[in-house]
Every structure is written in C-alpha cells, then in structure tokens.
C-alpha cells in the first residue's frame, strides 16, 4: 500500500479525512476517504466535482490533488497535507497578526480564487475554514465539493450554495443565475473578518442573514442595482442606507483607505459592479505599505 492512514482528523457528511504518509517519498499527505458505500448512486457528486476541478488546477494557492485510488469500495483522494486553516488562526486569540499578515493572506487567497475563475470554475463555498494553510505559510483554496463550471447565459443554478455568513446578496435573494462575483463577495467578508477578528455578517438564519447584511452595508436599491426590487423577497426588506465612509473607518479602525476601498469593491451589492478578482489583485491596497508579509514569515 503506497499510502498509510495514520490518524483520523475529521469527518464530514460525505467523507472522512485521515493524515498519512506517502510511503515511497515519506511525504505527509491527507487522505479524504469518500463514503461511497452510503451512496447507492455510484461515485458521489461532491467527490466527482472535487476530482474534476482539482485536476484542472496546478497553482500555489489551490490545494494539490496528489493521487486518487480505490480501496475496499471507497474512493480515496490523496491531498497535500495542510495542518492549519484561516478559521483556526482567526479564532486562536493567542495568535497576534499584523495588517501586513492580513494583506499576505488576502493576496494569496485572491490569487487562488483568480486562478479558479480564469479556469472558468466557481468555488461556491469560500470561507475561512476552506482556506487552508500549508507548513510554509501558503494559503490553499480547498474543498471543491460544491464547485461548478461557469454557467452559460441560459443555465439555471441553485442559489442554495455558500455557507450562510459568506453568501452574496444575489444568493440571499434566491437568484437563479449568478457568476464568479459570488466568490469575490465571500472573500470580501473574509477580509472584513480578518480585520475584525470576529465574523462580519453572522446571520442567525437565512432571513436574518439579509437583515444583518443590509444593516451593515445598506439595502440595495434599483438605482445602484437595476430591478433588484423585483426579487420576490425584496418587498419585505427594511431599507437601510449604505454606511458612510466615516462609519466604515470607525468600524475598521486599522484599515487604510485603500483597504476599505478594496473591501467595499468586493462587497458591492450589484454583482455586475462588484470588483472581479483581477481588479482586486490590482488594487492600490496591495501596492501601498506595508508590503504583504512573506508567507513563511507569518508567525503562528
């Protein structure tokens, strides 16, 4: 057996994750064992998506799919070993991180997301928990179990994607068509969370998520987002004004103006006006001081 499973480190609805070793190279790896036996429909959809999209991408900021094998009726995905994730770092109050560290994480995350988008792949579940951290400090976009190819203009999609707190307004409205802009929104929320060190838009349920989102960022109107009021759930909404720059400055005390502009660009209500990954990467925030910390130098 080329791979050993040494320690169970996690269990989800469709997979169990083990830490292990690749025998021939002694490389540390993670094995995601898909519980095929519980799915009578053959190879599981989430596993198929994960294989399909990871196979297309070789990028420093996207998790590497090392190998795939079948053992005792179960499909096993061999992934690179990533000991930490951004959620763990945010929650661990003993870790102090600097604005330069945040900039480094944002840069790596956006590079990974941009690589997905230029390969016509939507991730659809970006959250701190899915941004894994390699031993050398590199961020790796992971968990492509919900990913899909960018839809054609006429394709209908499910809006029931992305973990609630990171869900873009068009998804909250139940849009049947959306774009890679939903991923950018999630990164914007993650950016805010890194600066605040608490979740930025923690809705208690789907209805509350709209309330929390629009209270913080303003309820979108037809003026900035034509026909937004035609979404069925729109007329029940409380109309909040968008926050002034001053209010944002007070909320994000340590953020530079360029940092706020980037966040505002990512958290633009109208998905067509929202910044895309390229705009984000070219933002002045990444060019101004402080320079992003070398990933391996981030203290954790």
């Amino acid at each position: 057996m080329e791979y050993t499973k040494e320690k169970k480190v996690g269990e989800g609805t469709y997979a169990v994750v083990y830490l292990g070793t690749k025998q021939s190279t002694s490389r540390r790896i993670a094995i995601k064992e898909i519980k095929t036996s519980e799915f009578k429909d053959g190879l599981d959809m989430s596993a198929i998506r994960e294989v399909k999209y990871l196979q297309e991408m070789q990028h420093q900021n996207v998790i590497e799919l090392v190998d795939i094998f079948m053992a005792s009726e179960n499909l096993n995905l061999v992934l690179e070993f990533l000991p930490s994730d951004l959620e763990m770092v945010i929650k661990d109050k003993s870790i102090l991180f600097t604005p330069a560290d945040i900039k480094s994480w944002m840069l790596m995350t956006l590079r990974g997301v941009h690589h997905c988008h230029r390969n016509f792949i939507l991730h659809r579940d970006l959250k701190p928990n899915n941004l894994l951290i390699a031993p050398d400090g590199q961020i790796k976009v992971a968990d492509f179990g919900l990913a899909r190819t960018m839809p054609l203009a006429h394709e209908l999609l499910t809006s029931n994607v992305v973990t609630r707190w990171y869900r873009a307004p068009e998804l909250l409205f139940g849009a049947k068509h959306y774009t890679s802009a939903i991923d950018v929104w999630s990164v914007g929320v993650i950016f805010a969370e890194l600066m605040l060190r608490i979740p930025y838009l923690p809705g208690a349920n789907d209805v509350d998520q709209m309330e929390v989102t629009f209270r913080a960022l303003g309820t979108p109107t037809d003026k900035e987002w034509p026909e937004v009021s035609t979404f069925p759930s729109y007329n029940k909404l409380q109309i909040y004004p968008p926050p002034s720059r001053e209010e944002l400055r007070r909320r994000f005390i340590a953020a530079s103006e360029n940092a706020l502009s980037l966040m505002r660009g990512m958290l633009t209500m109208n998905p067509q006006k929202r910044w895309d990954a390229v705009q984000c990467l070219e933002s002045a925030y990444f060019k101004e001081a402080p320079a992003p910390t070398e990933p391996s130098a981030i203290k954790m």
Binding site: G42, L43, V51, N119, S261, E282, S283, A284
Partner: protein
C-alpha cells in the same frame, strides 16, 4: 501610507511589461491538452501498442484453450478456430469503438440530454478505449456507464434507479465499470467542447461583418454547426486540434465564403503582428491551412456500416470465447438454426 481612496471604476495603471496569461496558455494547462491531445503519430502508436498487447494476451488464451481441449478438437474445429477466432487488429478496434460511440450519441439523444452532456459522454467513451482494448472490455458494457458518469460530471444528476429505468439497463452493470472508467480517463473530467467557441464566433462574426450578414441566416447556421460539432467529436480531430480550431473547421464546412471573409477581416490586417491586448499573433495563411486540414479530417471520416461492426464484434466474441464458436459449430452441424449468432448479441 497613502490616504487617497481609489475610486471604484478607476483602471489601475499597468506596468510596461504587464502581460496576462492568454487563453492559449490556459488551454495548455488543461487536462484535455495535457493528457488527451496528441500528434497523429503518437495517437497511432498508442493504439498500435494497446492493440498489440490485447492481441498477445488473447492469442495466449487461445493457445491455452487449444492445448487444454486438444483431445476434443477435430480438423473441422481447428479450421473454424483458425478462421474465425482471430483477434481484431487496430483498425478494426477503432471502427468498433466509433460504431459504439455513435450508439452512445443516439442513446444520450434519446434520453433528451443537453448537447454538452452528449458530447462529454461521447468523449469519455472514446477516451476509455484509448486506454482499454475492445478485446478486454466489450464496448457495449460501458455505453451506459459513460452516459451515467457524463451526467454526474456535468452537474446533471440522474439517480441510478431512474437512470436504469430510463435506459432499461441493469444497475449493477452500469456501476460495474464506473471507477474503471474514471481511472481510464486519468481522472480528467473537465471537457472543453467546441460549442462554447461556436457561441463566441457566432457573436464575433456578427460584429466583424456587421450589416453584411442576415441574422436569421446566422441562426440557421448556428444550429447546423452545433450538429456538425457533435459529429466532429466522433472523429480524431478532437485529439489533434483545440476546440476553437474545430469550430472554425465546422464553420468552414458550413459556409466557406462567410467564414473566409470573417477570418480575412479579423486576421489578415495583423498578419504576424502581435495583438497588443492578448499578446497573440496569428499568421493568416497558417491559420487557414490548419483549419483546412482539420476540415478535411472531419469530411473524410467515414461511418462504420452495421454489417462491418457485426463482423468485427463476432471476431472479438470468438477470439475471447472460442467455446462459443465451437458450440455454434456443433449446433450448426446438428441443426440448421444457429441461435447464438453474433447478430443477436449486437442488437441488445
């Protein structure tokens, strides 16, 4: 630290050496290019080797069979075995696979699947038999499996119960080779089909030839090109050309004058000069000759007649199961009515 806010719509100034990856660069990173694109000699070599291996093991099994049964084999039996239990050669394999690839297409169409999924099923099926010989796995055995996996891979989930009911297939049989299929595909499920490129060219032709093309006519050729693309996916052009190249060849087949005029206006002006926004330079004459060779390959692809497919299938069957052939001979000798003919098997 700068305090000037960047207005939302401002385009950042780009450095002088600014260059983005082109679509060509990205395509070269795709699994379709890395694992499933070949130069013609490579593909031929791959097929020759695959067939040679399968033939060797089939012949080995035949020899064993003859040795084990030498006491029961008379002259007539030996002669029949020699004549009919012959492993198929490479050309016959390709023909049989192409014949069944059309069946995949027909069945997927009968299931009313979207065009892209039909294309993926055809692609999966043909790739499977670049890795497995028909002498090892009967094409028939993976027809439903490829359609089933293509649906899942294209995010068009049909449960196995419902799929089996619709195809009147057996669940166990459908799932039996699913992992083997995934493995043979080298775990590459992403397909870039030429339909997206068709949509792009369709829009671009209308821009470039604005006022010179009839929109209704464009709509007609769009639909016809879509069908032509599906047929092109049944040929080897998919291994030699990138999807947009296939699309251009198909457009050329559909309306040579229109396509040539479009390409002249689009590319002739900047022969050998680099397009500054993409960094790509396209040589017009090279482009035309490439499209024409792709077009010729699509045009010259011949379909395999049912009779020929049946003959090939019979060879596959008899060389893998010589006993079947002997049983048939026995029955033929004792009655005039052979039951286990390959004809009957093919129909199921």
């Amino acid at each position: 630290m700068s305090t000037t806010a960047q207005p939302k719509d401002e385009v950042p100034v780009k450095p002088a050496n600014y260059r983005r990856l082109t679509d060509d660069d990205l395509f070269r990173h795709s699994s379709q290019y890395r694992f499933w694109s070949f130069i013609p000699d490579q593909l031929k070599q791959k097929r020759i080797e695959l067939n040679a291996q399968a033939v060797a093991s089939t012949e080995e099994n035949l020899r064993k069979f003859m040795i084990e049964n030498k006491d029961y084999l008379g002259d007539e039996e030996l002669k029949t075995l020699e004549e009919k239990a012959v492993p198929v050669n490479m050309d016959e394999e390709v023909k049989l696979v192409n014949f069944y690839a059309k069946k995949v297409q027909a069945i997927a169409q009968r299931l009313n699947l979207p065009t892209e999924i039909i294309a993926t099923a055809i692609t999966f099926f043909r790739r499977f038999f670049l890795e497995n010989s028909v002498l090892e796995i009967e094409p028939k055995a993976v027809v439903f499996t490829t359609i089933f996996l293509a649906c899942k891979s294209e995010n068009y989930f049909i449960g196995i119960d419902s799929f089996a009911a619709k195809t009147k297939g057996s669940k166990t049989e459908i799932l039996k080779y699913e992992f083997k299929l995934l493995e043979s595909l080298k775990f590459c499920l992403m397909n870039h089909h030429p339909y997206k490129a068709l949509h792009g060219f369709f829009l671009d032709i209308q821009v470039v030839l604005h006022g010179k093309v009839d929109l209704k006519y464009m709509g007609q050729i769009y639909d016809r090109c879509k069908r032509r693309i599906t047929n092109a996916l049944l040929t080897d052009v998919v291994y030699f050309y990138a999807p947009p190249q296939i699309t251009l060849a198909v457009l050329m087949l559909e309306d040579e004058a229109l396509t040539t005029r479009y390409l002249e206006l689009k590319f002739h002006g900047n022969t050998e000069s680099e397009n500054p926004s993409t960094g790509v330079s396209i040589n017009f004459d090279k482009l035309i000759s490439m499209i024409n060779s792709c077009k010729d390959m699509i045009e010259n692809a011949s379909s395999v007649p049912v009779e020929e497919a049946k003959e090939i299938m019979a060879k596959v069957l008899y060389s893998r199961n010589p006993q079947v052939l002997l049983n048939k001979l026995k029955r033929k000798n004792s009655s005039e009515n052979p039951e286990d003919s390959p004809d009957k098997r093919l129909k199921t």
